[in-house]
Symmetry: D2
Subunit: 378 residues, 4 copies
Amino acid sequence: MRAWRAAIHQEPELSNEEVRTRAKIVDALTGLGLRPTTYPGFNGVSAALALDRSGPTVALRADLDALPVTEETGLPFASRFPGRMHACGHDVHMAALLGAAAVLKRNESRLRGPVKLLFQPAEEDGIDGGAAPFIARGALERPHVDFVVGQHLAGGIPLGVVGWAKGPMMGAADHFIIRVRGRGGHAGYPHRTVDAVVVAAEVITGLQALVSRLTDPTDPVVISVGMVHGGTRHNVLPDTVDLEGTVRTVRPATRATTEKALRRRVRHIAASLGARATVKFLRGYPVLVNDPTATDIVVRALTEELGGDRMVELEAPVMGAEDFSLYLEKRPGTFLFLGVDPPGHTSSLHSARFAPDESALVHGAAVLCAAVEGLQRG
Amino acid sequence: MRAWRAAIHQEPELSNEEVRTRAKIVDALTGLGLRPTTYPGFNGVSAALALDRSGPTVALRADLDALPVTEETGLPFASRFPGRMHACGHDVHMAALLGAAAVLKRNESRLRGPVKLLFQPAEEDGIDGGAAPFIARGALERPHVDFVVGQHLAGGIPLGVVGWAKGPMMGAADHFIIRVRGRGGHAGYPHRTVDAVVVAAEVITGLQALVSRLTDPTDPVVISVGMVHGGTRHNVLPDTVDLEGTVRTVRPATRATTEKALRRRVRHIAASLGARATVKFLRGYPVLVNDPTATDIVVRALTEELGGDRMVELEAPVMGAEDFSLYLEKRPGTFLFLGVDPPGHTSSLHSARFAPDESALVHGAAVLCAAVEGLQRG
Amino acid sequence: MRAWRAAIHQEPELSNEEVRTRAKIVDALTGLGLRPTTYPGFNGVSAALALDRSGPTVALRADLDALPVTEETGLPFASRFPGRMHACGHDVHMAALLGAAAVLKRNESRLRGPVKLLFQPAEEDGIDGGAAPFIARGALERPHVDFVVGQHLAGGIPLGVVGWAKGPMMGAADHFIIRVRGRGGHAGYPHRTVDAVVVAAEVITGLQALVSRLTDPTDPVVISVGMVHGGTRHNVLPDTVDLEGTVRTVRPATRATTEKALRRRVRHIAASLGARATVKFLRGYPVLVNDPTATDIVVRALTEELGGDRMVELEAPVMGAEDFSLYLEKRPGTFLFLGVDPPGHTSSLHSARFAPDESALVHGAAVLCAAVEGLQRG
Amino acid sequence: MRAWRAAIHQEPELSNEEVRTRAKIVDALTGLGLRPTTYPGFNGVSAALALDRSGPTVALRADLDALPVTEETGLPFASRFPGRMHACGHDVHMAALLGAAAVLKRNESRLRGPVKLLFQPAEEDGIDGGAAPFIARGALERPHVDFVVGQHLAGGIPLGVVGWAKGPMMGAADHFIIRVRGRGGHAGYPHRTVDAVVVAAEVITGLQALVSRLTDPTDPVVISVGMVHGGTRHNVLPDTVDLEGTVRTVRPATRATTEKALRRRVRHIAASLGARATVKFLRGYPVLVNDPTATDIVVRALTEELGGDRMVELEAPVMGAEDFSLYLEKRPGTFLFLGVDPPGHTSSLHSARFAPDESALVHGAAVLCAAVEGLQRG
């Protein structure tokens, strides 16, 4: 698993560009004696085991894509490409699923039902993720999938511990794009311009009060601006400044009111200085809801396998979104968090310095195998 | 002049890249029967007339470089290069100086003293402008220059009118570079990050009160942020956000206190959210101070030539900076503004839509010739 | 109950000034045939029933004080005193407890154990509330109290419905007092002053990001500024501006980190403009935690009495604080919310226009009687 | 003069309440052998000398009212009244005018023309000042006044030096009153309120950019908020917050555009969070314009009397307003600044610690006498 993971980690690819990654997955699965399926114009890979068994089919899913982050871990197998990094742990997800595939293949004769392996591209896209086209291409059929299981590395949970939840587990993630339109000009004559930089700054600051004042404090909402870009020269005020960010919510009504409040806020702040602003609000993945019954079964199986001290129920939904939610809209199943925090430290996914301990690989593979065992046993 | 100007305008070049522009100037001067001087590793061009006369030598200066602005004028001779534009009118300055050169050459026998033509690169650089290296390469010698005259297009003054001032006319322009350092991470978990985007926004907003509260309202100060850049993905908070901007002042003491206040403001705003910020403060061109006697002579000559209704004394210094100030630190002389406002409209230099009326060419050439006449007559 | 409530409502008294209110309570209890106990230097009133029974003793608590709000309800029995109003519903709590007392007194022979009635002053004080001194004066002894029950009107819950929760139900409420110290002076010469008004505004705005950026979105935190006062004349900048507000949290660790972040934020924002700020952070009531077993018993009894559709479990703790939490630190028991929302409307407690439907009186009395019945039955 | 000043200083009175102050003036003038005129319903006092002379009549004006500031000077004759202080130096103006009256009376026979003494109330009012009603009551008639002279203590000018200006000397001062209307409620439930405190803070911060971004940096504009008041309890969000402040400008067009920009800014900032705001904009005293000819005469006379090193021409208009501007709209004359800065220190008028050196008394009296001498000599 280490070798797979290092090879994948070293050559990260962004959403819908996972060509080399796909090739590595295909090679690895073939090497395990499986016959992977690929798809024209789509970077997903699937494979199946124990197709002849009559028990329930369990699909295990990993995600392929990396983030546009320049790695600063100093690892020997660090990304060779500036501006691309497996900072979200998908390399570990893939290697763990390959590891699980190896174990399951070795023990194929003991499986009660078929297992389907799903290597999905473009999870990070956020809007047009890979889950929907994968499902459209039959990911949950041939054989008909009865349960879906996925997992993700997680900060905030100790290394080696599994986090689980019944019901809502991850929020909805929407993507907003704001263009502030002022009127550019010489930076020494601000009164002859409409300063889009100052307006953009007021917009960013102004978004904070939407969370602190307009939202029920017990109803989680996140509004983050990940990108702010404007201007090409220090002494020329630009015509426009562009902001992009994300809104996370766990209730549909709050999702709607937050969008509405954000639009009103942005429009009026711009108008207050004579500028204008356009807001595009792209709805992303829906809330991820774990099936209670399937979750109970998986948690029981994992508790047997790992011990109760290695299992933790989440106190609250987390604000990251996942298009695994789309599989869960079609089939019962559960999503699990693999803790990666070393003692006394909280890991920060998406950071340029994210470097989870390698023991997560073995752990992740074991979790998937135990989940299959549990769900097929019933 | 129109043809020169259109040719230059169509192929704008940024500071210290004025290679084609230099070639066009050299060709034009040669075509006028002059013998231009060029310099290795420096894009300036000079030429001299009437070297055998005993009267005072007057140097006339134009500037060569363009701005990194994408032109939106729709002119037939608009810039062919996205991201480069003569949005500051240097094309007109060059063409007017070439026009003046043609007139002076035609009337060379009537000149009382030598005239030196200075085509200077990199005026827009702001810090390492072309004036200092031009002077170092002998711009004010061979023959020894007695007076310097320059001009610049100006909004806020009617087309065809000349703006002048005795004493301080243009402010000092300093360049600041701020890097806000937070701690990046997943945009859905802001509490695990230090949000450099929010801090940068607070810094931009915070700079406003330095002008409105810390500055004597009768002592002009401008603080503008021309560039704000941070983040590569909407759902990842970046580690850093970069700001660049300009500070304009007309008093040395205010220049110093403003730098100090800006440093304190930025540092503490960052610290208030647990971030850090570094501030580089690059001192740019000094205050441009016109020599009173030389200005009186030039104004008298222009008033004779153009009529008193075409001359206007500036009420206050303007906040744009010019490295013509460096010539004026070495030699007496004056800098003039050529109005370009059509009736009922204020032109905005540095804007992507800046398109001055072509009559400014004739006007600019006439102003330079009259200034020479006046200064050589005394 | 209506008459009691109207009489109390008309003459609201602020925390620790509840002298007339106390007299009304004493009169009413006496009129019911009870022998109320009063306390020197403390406005609480207690009374007991069925002291000879051997079953568990249940204490029922109501609160006496009003808010410094000027009533705008237009009710016939509206407050006679500008700047004082029962905008928090304590008038209803008192009348309902008196109503319950009447019912219990009438049926005293059927009670299984004693009942203690606690009319507590100064619940609104927030820091030095009446619960602690009431307990110190024996509120939970003579007879020894086994269970405590309290209730509060609540917006966000339909009229006639009871809200309940096991475990944490209401947050901790701390009180902060910030004095921004600038340097006053003539408002026309801001550069000779340090503008405490602008700094105070930046502090208020700056507090928003503590919630939106520094706090786990699933961990409820509220920071509100209820008072801002500075300046005595429009054209004189004051030396100081005073802010007061509240911090609400539901986790002790968050309470501590929020205080720390607030202190850092305020100090640096002030320093960024050359001002200073002092922060007093007064720890208020702790988190209110309902005993699970006692809550189960009460919920079961209320469900029998009212029907299941009149009971609703709270999804999340609410951010208002209550010194009933102090009784719950000493004795098992539960706190209940009495819904007052008419169809299609959310009531806003603490507002000048808060006017709950009178049916809440009957409802409140019934809830208390049923809770006693349940807890004494076991 | 010291005794007069100390007596007046000790009992300061606010605008239009100057009853004791008037009595002291009347007593002092009577004691000098003059016959002061008082006015029913108006606290002004006037007196005249040398009514039989044929030369031009010069009116000298002092102002009577104090500021609502609590004195912190520790002077032996400090204000006896908290919340009232001669922090603007009007006590010195009065004592200096009384001193001048004593000198002029002693030398009455040498005066070339009449002198009129004007002790005017309510200069600090800013909107409904005392100058207009004083003029309406004949301040500039009986005898007909030919020239008006006034003076004011000034920081920024060394002690003993007189500041003067031809043309515009002091700005227009307008008074704005903003009421931010949100919707009050419980501070623990911000989402059920519209937080007027946060909106008011954003308005205050937002006003800064009107100066820093919308105003020509060479055209002085001041916007200061002197008062911010909202809320009566730390844990209740108020319905409204009130702001009051001042706008200072020196050009009529800027006065109009600033009002317009302020109204737009405030309205949209409020709307961006769902609040409303009303803006009252009260036009105050106009620009104070000194008559060039009269100023030349006075400056010449003062230069003779004091020496050229004790006279300084102001570089720029100051932003404080004065209703002496209204006398100057009716009659030629000049307004003078009496420097009070000790070496190495800038005095801050309107501050609670303002304590000018007593030598300003003699200086002020001498300036007035010399101005009379100069203007009557012509």
